[in-house]
Amino acid sequence: MGLENYLKHENILVTNITDFVNWGRSNSIWPCTFGLACCALEMMATSLASYDIARFGSEVYRPSPRQADLMIVSGTLTKKMSVMVKRIYEQIPEPKWVIAMGACASTGGIFKSYSVVQGVDQIIPVDVYIPGCPPRPEALLAALMKLQAKIKTEKLDSRPDVDE
């Protein structure tokens, strides 16, 4: 069944480095463990057996931002919390991506209020937005697949940490 059947006679696999790196990055997007509101529970449900985010290589929720690649902003971002969220984003090493999960993280949602940030894209760059209140786990998985497709189109020198 496995790859060994095809590669049993010392074969050579040829690819270019961009495709190879993007293939590796897109299939091991490790999210940062943090949640802000009810969307975080859907995020947890996504990692459980029925939805099984491990199928996409993203089951390793990292408690330290130093080891994470993806920030899932799951929930309402209040202005008081925005300081910490921005700090966590800055602690994640490049390459890093951001998913704004749910209506609150994308636009502020129902909280048209003095205390809520009207969309996390006001403080950090966002790659994928998920609508819904809260989005179902399928929506998070769809966003993850969208992000994988996006990573596969990236050029290696287009990331901000790469010197020109």
Binding site: K79, S82, V83, K112, Y114, S115, V117, Q118, Q122, I123
Partner: protein, 161 residues
């Protein structure tokens, strides 16, 4: 029953009393508030040893503008009492932390959201909003969306801790 007890030991303190859902609410006079609360806390007839919550109400356009609500409970006698105090915008209310330690954070919350100041409070800082927040959001004349809703939000403008 409690009203008679209070009237017997401290006559003329209760301005008004309301029975609502089997709970007694009493309005007390501002001048004697602190001695009254001390009496409720330590007197053998009451022993209200638990302060469950301190809340504030903004009755905008009515004078005096604010009401403070102290929810007391006596473990000894299993009674509940809601003490209400009318305060105006410039009044400074004595802090109840001297009698109940649990008044600390609720009074900070009332100060944060309604702007009622407490004297002799050990740590009267904002508790829910951030340190350099301007205004008091639960006041009826506070704009719900805040003064700078249409401007782009800058997290550096938030001072926390």
């Amino acid at each position: 029953m409690i009203v008679e007890k209070i009237n017997k030991s401290l006559p003329g303190l209760i301005e008004d009393q309301i029975w609502f859902r089997d709970e007694l609410q009493i309005y007390v006079k501002k001048e004697l508030f602190i001695s009254f609360m001390k009496h409720l806390r330590y007197n053998e007839d009451f022993k209200f040893d638990l302060l469950l919550d301190v809340a504030g109400i903004d009755r905008f356009s009515i004078k005096p503008r604010f009401e403070l609500v102290y929810i007391l409970y006596s473990l000894e006698y299993n009674m509940r009492l809601i003490v209400k105090l009318k305060v105006d915008i410039s009044d400074i209310v004595p802090s109840m932390t001297i009698f109940w330690k649990s008044a600390n954070w609720p009074e900070r919350e009332v100060y944060d959201l309604l702007g009622i100041k407490f004297s002799n409070h050990p740590d009267l800082r904002r508790i829910l909003t951030w340190d350099n927040f301007e205004g008091h959001p639960l006041r009826k004349d506070f704009p719900l969306q805040g003064p700078d809703f249409n401007e782009k939000f800058n997290p550096d403008s938030i001072k926390v801790y």
